[in-house]
């Protein structure tokens, strides 16, 4: 049970050979401000890095970022790899510029949903809105 003394633990990080560090640092600060315990993997991560961190901190949710469009190359199989370690119900979000170039939002969202992401934020997103959704989803207790 998560309380103020035992806050929700969130793993965040940027996926792929992606070094966009600014939004990552902002997200980390905003989540901490909102009372979450943040495990920030920062830039240059693969799926395995996220899974290692999930196991280390016994995380409640994973928030993946992609700014340079590599997201679509690295994310297929994200959920199934989590499930192999027993995290089939862990909350999994992704946001940012998820593909290279312009693409249809509905198509991109449904593709990432099919890889097991519970919520997909395409392009510029209000972080406060993300946090309110995260709170809601965590309260509901399981993956969508």
């Amino acid at each position: 049970m998560c309380t103020q003394d035992n806050p929700n633990r969130i793993v965040i990080g940027v996926i792929g050979h992606d070094i966009h560090a600014v939004a990552n640092r902002v997200l980390s600060a905003v989540l901490e401000d909102a009372g979450f315990l943040v495990c920030n993997l920062r830039t240059n991560n693969k799926i395995q890095d996220f899974i290692d961190a999930v196991q280390e901190v016994d995380a409640h949710a994973v928030l993946v970022s992609s700014l340079n469009g590599e997201g679509e190359n690295w994310c297929p199989g994200f959920r199934s790899q989590l499930a192999e370690k027993g995290y089939e119900n862990l909350l999994l979000y992704i946001g940012g510029n998820l593909v290279v170039g312009e693409a249809d939002e509905t198509e991109v969202v449904s593709r990432f949903r099919s890889w097991g992401f519970d919520r997909v934020f395409y392009g510029a997103t209000d972080l406060n809105w993300v946090i309110s959704l995260l709170r809601e989803d965590l309260a509901n207790g399981a993956a969508l």
């Binding site: 792929g16 560090a21 905003v30 401000d33 469009g69 510029a124």
Partner: protein, 468 residues
């Protein structure tokens, strides 16, 4: 003291080079053949030659890189026809991390699906023979745009392809562009590249180097952009580079931009002169806004217009463009073409004939000069045997500190905020050696022009998102 000095060449360059040329991807790159190819190119293809000719407006340099040759060729032709003075070759993020195998797979997937899975041109995989074909007959210099801590293979391939301008440096392409890459290795890799550029240079047609002053493009104080660029300029000068560009990006404050340009010019000349590098020719480039771009494309256009105007007013030798697609990912060909037209329109309709000055600009120039001098002199005065090693230690000690840089060697203790005029102010210097006068002046300016934010978190977000 480990001051940079002339002909302090990277030891055993030839030995390292034969190892680099032994990379399987560089099969077929032969020094003599490359020299012959360069010798057969027109003068106009050399960035150094173009810069040395009189120009009354900044040269226009777009960015741009796609996965496949065909699309890159379409882009290159379109950019050239739209009036780009310099052509780009922007490299994908896999190649930037030396992940040539995955770049190859994604290049093949891009060809198969008719859709790009790479955010730039994988030059090492395409090779030099086909890449030469991108630029023949266009008679324009090509600039390698990337972000690679170990770019030795890439730059060998680039020069073999007829690319005569190489962007980057040991600090500016390591700290903002990698999390784990060791800085000392990056500095040595870039000494190799500087030496390589010098070796392929002829007195009339040097290979040109450009340093990436914008760094993270986010809340970097002008003095740090200047200090890092001038340090990279001196590192290149040691290896025999004799034509180079220092660069910075739009700060968000017009008068801070004017002041930054003033100090950049003055200090490039001053340090080269003092350290005996009198044969180096230095130019100044200005980057359109490098921070968080407005998703609203109309606002993006306004921002690009303002930046172009600034480039013209400060008399930059080159302006490096962004597009209205910036917030949305890799721009289309059309967006790139329109950015060139927009930049060209603004700069050709606005003729400024005298340099700009005001008490505000003078005050800002003096402050930036004081701070940049403190940082550069602190590195120059460090004990040791080699300048590059002083630079390495200066980063680890926090003398050089780049806001928001992801590299683990970066201290992240330098804190900046925007004042009420949107100028970048140093709130806490961390271990950056600024004197009391500078710190007090920063504080005084912040008090005189206070920002409207109340909480630290709001200020951080507001400062980053200032142009949204």
């Amino acid at each position: 003291m480990a001051r940079p000095y002339k002909n302090n060449y990277l030891p055993s360059f030839d030995g390292i080079r034969s190892q680099v040329l032994g990379h399987p991807k560089l099969e077929g790159v032969i020094d003599n053949e490359v020299r012959e190819y360069l010798a057969g190119m027109q003068d106009e293809c050399f960035a150094s030659v173009r810069f040395s000719r009189p120009h009354h407006s900044p040269y226009i340099q777009p960015r741009g890189g796609y996965a496949t040759f065909d699309r890159q060729q379409k882009l290159t032709k379109a950019l050239s026809e739209a009036g780009a003075d310099f052509l780009p070759l922007t490299i994908d993020s896999y190649t930037r991390h030396n992940d040539y195998d995955r770049a190859q797979l994604l290049l093949e997937k891009s060809l198969g699906d008719g859709k790009d899975y790479l955010n730039g041109y994988p030059l090492v995989n395409h090779g030099f023979e086909i890449t030469r074909l991108l630029f023949t007959d266009l008679n324009k210099p090509v600039s390698l745009r990337h972000g690679t801590p170990d770019a030795r293979v890439l730059v060998e391939m680039a020069i073999a392809s007829g690319i005569t301008e190489i962007e980057g440096g040991g600090i500016s392409y390591c700290l903002p562009y990698s999390m784990n890459y060791p800085l000392d290795r990056a500095l040595l890799n870039w000494q190799y590249i500087d030496r390589l550029a010098a070796q392929y240079s002829t007195p009339e047609r040097p290979i040109h180097r450009e340093f990436f002053g914008p760094l993270t493009g986010t809340m970097v104080p002008p003095a740090m952009m200047i200090a890092v660029s001038i340090i990279e300029l001196l590192l290149a000068a040691e290896q025999g580079v004799c034509s180079a560009t220092v660069a910075f990006s739009q700060t968000g404050s017009f008068f801070q931009d004017v002041a930054t340009a003033n100090v950049f010019r003055k200090f490039s000349a001053k340090y080269l002169q003092e350290l005996g590098f009198t044969d180096m020719k230095v130019y100044l480039a200005y980057h359109h806004w490098m921070g968080a771009f407005p998703p609203d494309r109309r606002k993006a256009d306004y921002l690009i217009a303002c930046a172009s105007l600034t480039a013209k007013i400060i008399g930059a030798d080159k302006v490096i463009t962004k597009t209205r697609d910036e917030a949305w990912g890799i721009p289309s060909i059309q967006a790139n073409v329109e950015a060139i037209q927009e930049t060209n329109y603004v700069m050709s309709k606005f003729i400024s004939t005298s340099s700009l000055n005001s008490p505000n600009i003078e005050r800002e120039s003096q402050l930036i000069a004081r701070e940049a001098r403190s940082i550069i002199d602190a590195v120059l005065d460090m004990p040791g045997n080699n300048f590059w090693y002083s630079v390495n230690r200066a980063v680890h000690m926090g003398i050089i500190d780049i806001p928001f840089a992801p590299n683990l060697a970066n201290r992240n203790r330098l804190l900046t905020v925007r004042d009420g005029n949107l100028a970048i102010r140093i709130k806490s210097a961390g271990s950056v050696p600024l004197d009391d006068t500078a710190i007090e002046e920063e504080r005084a300016l912040l008090q005189q022009y206070p920002s409207s934010f109340i909480s630290t978190a709001d200020q951080m977000l507001g400062d980053i998102n200032v142009m949204l």
